[in-house]
Symmetry: C2
Subunit: 323 residues, 2 copies
């Protein structure tokens, strides 16, 4: 069997989860891909950190070009996060003929057209399932088999931190500040929660979903976005009295006036499937003109669910380049 070689950029939490997913499920992944898959080089400064995986010191490099210019490497996985240098690294990898897989919603949303165009020009695959909905295989579905539909509407709960906060506020009647603090203590919210609670993270994901489902790229900063910081206990009680829950909803809908889109706290009737998505879970609700309504539900974050999505992309690419 051919060996498909992979260069990994970043061995933080998600990188470690991805590495671990391959370690745990190597036999099964290689059987499905019909080739061997090996992570041969890792760009990472912190070589000493204890990780629950088997990495030999020789795999680490501090020089990204040693990965991009390695003729043996077929696939580059980018898990650095942030727009730069991640975007530049992905473009370099593509220009060197490497297929690219990433979980980086900020970079994909910021540079969607350029990344897609560069991948096409260089005849390489570019996959980013993990960038939207973590482990939920939504991008694969809407770009392959569900293309038999014209999409009419997409609604998503796409951020685990804010969904956790809203769920706890709803279930225990707690104020926003108290729940945020609790979420930070539990590791569900970052020390600086701005990108999550202001809806910026969700806007990135909606930008990617719209580009794929509606062939319409809208930059994240051009999506009308409201976060959850102003939601009060009174708002939540008032919604409950009216048979609704408040969720931070990413929405894109075809209308007579074109595509309408936003990220904002929204009342969802208790009877709607999205009302049942609680705590750190994510869900994407899709309406197509043939399939009618679909919903995909799962863990929107975490090292292993994200690793599942990243390795799923690697597997699909390896199937082709392993031949």
């Amino acid at each position: 069997m051919k060996i498909v070689k992979v260069g990994l950029l970043g061995l933080g939490n998600i990188g470690t989860g991805t590495y671990k997913t391959l370690e745990m499920n190597k036999a099964q992944i290689e059987a499905a891909a019909e080739c061997k898959i090996e992570i041969t080089k890792i760009l990472e400064r912190d070589v000493d950190r204890k990780r629950d995986i088997t990495v030999v010191p020789e795999q680490f490099t501090q020089d990204p070009d040693s990965i991009f210019q390695d003729p043996e490497i077929d696939i580059v996985i980018e898990l650095l996060g942030g727009i730069e240098p991640a975007s530049t690294f992905m473009l370099s990898a593509m220009k060197n003929g490497k297929h690219v897989v990433t979980a980086n919603k900020a970079a994909v949303a910021a540079n969607f057209d350029r990344l897609m165009k560069t991948a096409k020009e260089n005849h390489v695959d570019f996959r980013f399932e993990a960038s939207v909905g973590g482990g939920i295989p939504i991008l694969n579905a809407i770009t392959t088999v569900l293309r038999s539909n014209q999409f009419e509407e997409i609604l998503g709960i796409l951020n685990g931190t804010t969904n956790y906060i809203l769920t706890q506020m709803t279930e225990y009647g707690l104020p926003y500040g108290d729940v945020l603090k609790k979420a930070q203590e539990k590791g569900f919210a970052e020390a600086d929660p701005t990108a999550d609670v202001e809806g910026i993270d969700v806007a990135n994901k909606l930008s990617i979903l719209m580009a794929l489902a509606f062939d319409t790229y809208v930059a994240p900063e051009d999506i009308p976005t409201t976060g959850i910081t102003d939601i009060t206990r009174a708002d939540i009680t008032d919604a409950a009295v009216n048979g609704c829950k408040i969720k931070l909803i990413a929405s894109a809908k075809k209308t007579e006036n074109g595509l309408e889109y936003s990220v904002k706290p929204t009342r969802i009737p208790n009877s709607h499937p999205l009302a049942t998505i609680n705590n750190e879970f994510n869900a994407v609700f899709v309406r197509g003109n043939a399939v009618d309504e679909l919903m995909f539900y799962g863990k929107g974050a975490g090292p292993l669910p994200t690793g599942s999505a990243v390795m799923g992309d690697v597997l699909e690419i390896a199937k082709l380049c392993g031949r």
Copy 2:
């Protein structure tokens, strides 16, 4: 652009829904497949029935071999239903080098190994997304990107008729017989509902899911199967008192003693995502060792949702044979 030609076996409700899905979304499907797709021949006795689609009389044939032996046809869609002659027809199509797409759970479950083997021997694709969960793209997910996981458990609500009956019994406190009659009047249950209410239809679908997710084929008749005909109002009330709903659940789970599987009415805690799946909707709940829990929700039947799944399969095959 190359033209990929399709022969269609059966133009009943699902056949018409499939034809209509292609008519409605032709431009988009062809753009995604990067080829033209044309249904050129249709095996169907009832040529006079009014259908809301544009079929020219010359497309109809009464001779299946005129489709299997047509060197111009690339893909055969089988929508006759029932084990025979559908299975024999699919095998003939494969032996003549045609890719095959079907929605026929009875035929796929009964002859899984033979159909898969014959497809492999003849280097053709064999896809059957619509056979499990109607429009829900679950088979594509578990056979492609989710292969980065080892599956631990699959739970499904896989039959719209029985889920409708149980939902109505639960919501309105009605007895089984009354709801069945109502379902038959509404067209949600067949005149002879045996295959649905006795769980036979669900056992077929679980057989297919297990073969794909666990690489373990179990014939439907070897799956311990209990239907919903003995469920009483008292059972449902007693479940409700204990915070549960009764659902007809297809279950397959890896245990220390190997794979355990069954189809039977099961108490699902109200907090479980499957408890929220009501009426004619289906859902498949999957647990993988990396991705953790996922759920896929959508319409399990109906001409257009099923047509969406069939045309999704056709699209994926056309992508490859259109090159």
